[in-house]
Subunit: 193 residues, 2 copies
């Protein structure tokens, strides 16, 4: 399973066998079953997480139980609650598994050691960071400028290999509309073809 991660990294970064060995030596593999949590609100996010297989979801809960989905992370995607991870403070978010999932983990201390030892890795991480800023900025723009139909379409474009694996009510909670409205949007879009 770990090979999935290494194959992905080799396609992204020029890493030597030594680098890879070092990265591997500080990693942990973990399996999370559907509906299990890997992070709960109030806990500190101790790890950087790479998803090898499966699907994770980051969300927050209001007092009344309503859920708001911040993001999904499927195969070959990095995730964590960045704020909690970076400052080592309690997280406002939960991360759970939508499918049975396998991840590779590094603690913050270990990961810092990695990027300080491997300059190409540092550059790569900075780039991942940069593109996640762009992605989230694009989402804000969508939030304030798109119609609900466009938001849904944009979601499909942004998560082409995820949108079909996620229950509708979670998509709705990602878009910021009620599940009934999303249901009707899809109905309307079907008619248009």
């Amino acid at each position: 399973m770990y090979e999935i991660f290494e194959r992905f990294m080799l396609a992204q970064v020029a890493l030597t066998p030594d680098d890879l060995q070092f990265i591997r030596s500080l990693s942990t593999i973990k399996k999370i079953r559907k509906r299990q949590f890997i992070l709960r609100e109030g806990e500190v996010a101790r790890h950087k997480i790479f998803v090898c297989r499966g699907l994770l979801r980051t969300f927050s809960r209001k007092d009344d139980g309503t859920e708001y989905t911040m993001r999904f992370a499927a195969e070959n995607v990095w995730t964590t609650d960045h704020e909690s991870y970076y400052h080592q403070i309690p997280s406002k978010f939960n991360i759970d598994a939508i499918e049975d999932t396998t991840v590779v983990l590094w603690t913050r201390e270990n990961f810092i050691e990695l990027v300080e030892t491997i300059p190409t890795l540092r550059t790569y991480v900075e780039e991942v960071m940069a593109s996640s800023i762009n992605a989230i900025q694009g989402r804000v723009l969508g939030n304030i400028s798109y119609t609900n139909e466009e938001k849904y379409q944009d979601f499909i474009n942004t998560y082409p290999d995820v949108f079909n694996r996620v229950p509708l009510h979670m998509v709705a909670s990602y878009l910021g509309v009620s599940r009934e409205t999303l249901s009707r949007i899809r109905h309307a879009q079907l008619k248009q073809r």
Copy 2:
């Protein structure tokens, strides 16, 4: 005017007089009058911008002319279009001045030289980056979870020294509501006291 920047930085980062001198030597000061642009859609964002005085606004325009405000940057705030700056590609955004504004600028090449020469500056920049990720993430959560009243209140809390200096229709374009709706929200809130 440049002293504003230096005073701010000294309060944030441990910089030596040599560091400060070096940073200054690569900087440019620029004044932008109200309604003038410092970046236009399609141009490449060549600079990191620090606002000494005044107020900038980053926004995009739809074909029909509708504007969507991504952010405001007042005194002692860094800004630029990060995506364009980082990849040196054409920007999707405009940045203009809401008030007469004075900024300090560094080109990307010069700024890279700075952070590679001054490690404490690099750390600081990474922290600014990290907290801007958190801020924008908080905005997404607001977008999908708050009522319009709450969004407006959150805007006031997030930009306490800005909200009063910005025309309402720009606030509306930041929140993603029509200016009439925002007007009515304010009216309703007044009544509540």
